[in-house]
């Protein structure tokens, strides 16, 4: 798999700390919702750095969108958030990964559980669901610190009737919020996700500590471990 030219066709803020990059990739062969790509930057002196990012756009869309969340002390994300402009040329390799994926043909029910920027591959799945006219039942439980951290408001605001989105706020909730708050423990999960009886395909994506806790609680609740796919990033606590 080799590096391809990726021209930045648009860049727009996705939240206060995240940006959406819309890329036109030479020879792009298409992807499956949930896959990721490697993005490479090269300095004048030949120094290179690359990181992996989940694809946010649907396979049906011709341009590839990535949503990049800033990482404190990061090397690549600050550049992508603050410096990249329309017309810039980056390099991209992918798509990569075949496990953490969903296609409309797989049907439902599907339970998606996101922590923070872990929602990005789910944006691709939900766009794919909408554009495919899928009737699969999909639920997204999206854990955020604060309401202003939300990513993908565009996609999440136009999901169809078969999709249910639930937010959970761990730090501050909107005024009058009646939904879940705090950490996603077994109690919150039992109330807000598809139970094991429905035999959902479950996807969990987020920081390592979040995924570890959620996947462990789902197993406790009776979900079959092999029905739970995880994607995690960052350190063990």
């Amino acid at each position: 798999m080799s590096w391809a030219r990726a021209v930045v066709r648009a860049t727009c803020p996705e939240s206060a700390g995240a940006v959406r990059l819309v890329l036109e990739v030479d020879g792009w062969s298409g992807h499956v919702a949930g896959q990721h790509v490697d993005l490479r930057l090269t300095a004048e002196d030949g120094y290179t750095a690359w990181r992996s990012y989940s694809i946010a756009s649907a396979p049906q869309q011709p341009l590839v969108s990535l949503v990049v969340q800033g990482v404190d002390g990061g090397e690549v994300s600050p550049y992508l958030i603050s410096d990249v402009q329309e017309g810039d040329v980056l390099e991209l390799r992918g798509p990569i990964g075949g496990h953490f994926v969903w296609r409309a043909a797989l049907g439902g029910p599907v339970q998606l559980i996101a922590g923070g920027s872990g929602v990005v591959p789910f944006l691709s799945m939900l766009e794919h669901h909408r554009l495919a006219g899928s009737d699969a039942e999909v639920r997204l439980l999206y854990a955020l610190r604060n309401p202003q951290d939300v990513l993908g408001t565009g996609v999440l605001g136009q999901v169809g009737p078969r999709v249910q989105v639930t937010y959970a706020y761990s730090r501050s909730a909107p005024p009058g919020w009646q939904g879940p708050t705090g950490r996603l423990d077994a109690g919150v999960l039992a109330e807000h996700v598809c139970g094991p009886a429905a035999a959902p395909q479950t996807f969990v994506c987020g920081p390592t500590g979040f995924v570890e806790a959620v996947a462990g609680a789902l197993v406790q609740l009776g979900h079959v471990p092999t029905s739970i796919k995880t994607e995690r990033y960052g350190d063990a606590a």
Binding site: M1, D38, T42, A43, T48, A49, T208, R232, A236
Partner: protein, 201 residues
């Protein structure tokens, strides 16, 4: 040949002592975690480790047997396919040479298999000669579940996905049979020095 990115200078610089493979960066004190499913909860009372498949006899160790095997301390560098490398990591475990002693293999490959269903394939030769271990200790403590405890495979000369977490055994195979990630487009062998990340280069 890479295309220069306008305005990017980069802040990290690579190690100059020749220990960083191409395309990798030094992650420092961090120890990222990547796995495809929930961390298995392992009952040491029923746990065992086996060498099986194309062998003249199956070897099996209970947890008690395993902890009684001769252990060695290992200090090695780790290289993950997602670009981070971690230097001078300290492990404790049993050499695969010890586990394979006295077994006549009827094939040149192995499939490492794990709690949770993970598998990965390796040439048998890469597990011998003091280059691979079944480790149950990290940094002077029992290996934590999130990093593969109670026992994981450690094959530091290959990308880290080959160092299977939650190891339950190795099956000797006649042919090289792609494992979990290898079936999803990752390289069959995974040499970080030749940057064998993905199938086909």
């Amino acid at each position: 040949m890479s295309t220069t990115t306008r305005g990017f200078s980069g802040r990290r610089r690579q190690r100059t002592d020749g220990r960083l493979p191409p395309g990798q960066y030094d992650v420092g004190d961090a120890f990222p975690v990547l796995s495809a499913g929930p961390t298995p909860r392992v009952d040491l009372g029923t746990w065992d480790l086996t060498v099986q498949g194309q062998v003249d006899h199956v070897a099996r160790w209970t947890w008690e047997d395993f902890t009684a095997l001769p252990h060695e301390d290992i200090t090695v560098d780790l290289h993950c396919v997602t670009a981070w490398s971690k230097f001078d990591t300290r492990w404790r475990g049993v050499s695969l040479d010890t586990l394979l002693e006295g077994i006549s293999p009827g094939g040149s490959f192995v499939s490492a298999f794990c709690d949770g269903g993970y598998t990965t394939n390796l040439p048998l030769a890469d597990l011998t000669g003091g280059r691979a271990w079944a480790v149950d200790g990290y940094g002077g403590a029992p290996l934590e579940p999130v990093h593969g405890g109670p026992v994981r495979l450690l094959v530091p000369h290959l990308y880290l996905w080959k160092s299977a977490k939650w190891l339950r055994g190795i099956a000797v195979t006649e042919h090289d049979e792609p494992g979990f990630w290898e079936r999803f487009g990752y390289h069959g062998y995974g040499d970080p020095w030749r940057e064998q990340r993905y199938a086909g280069g």
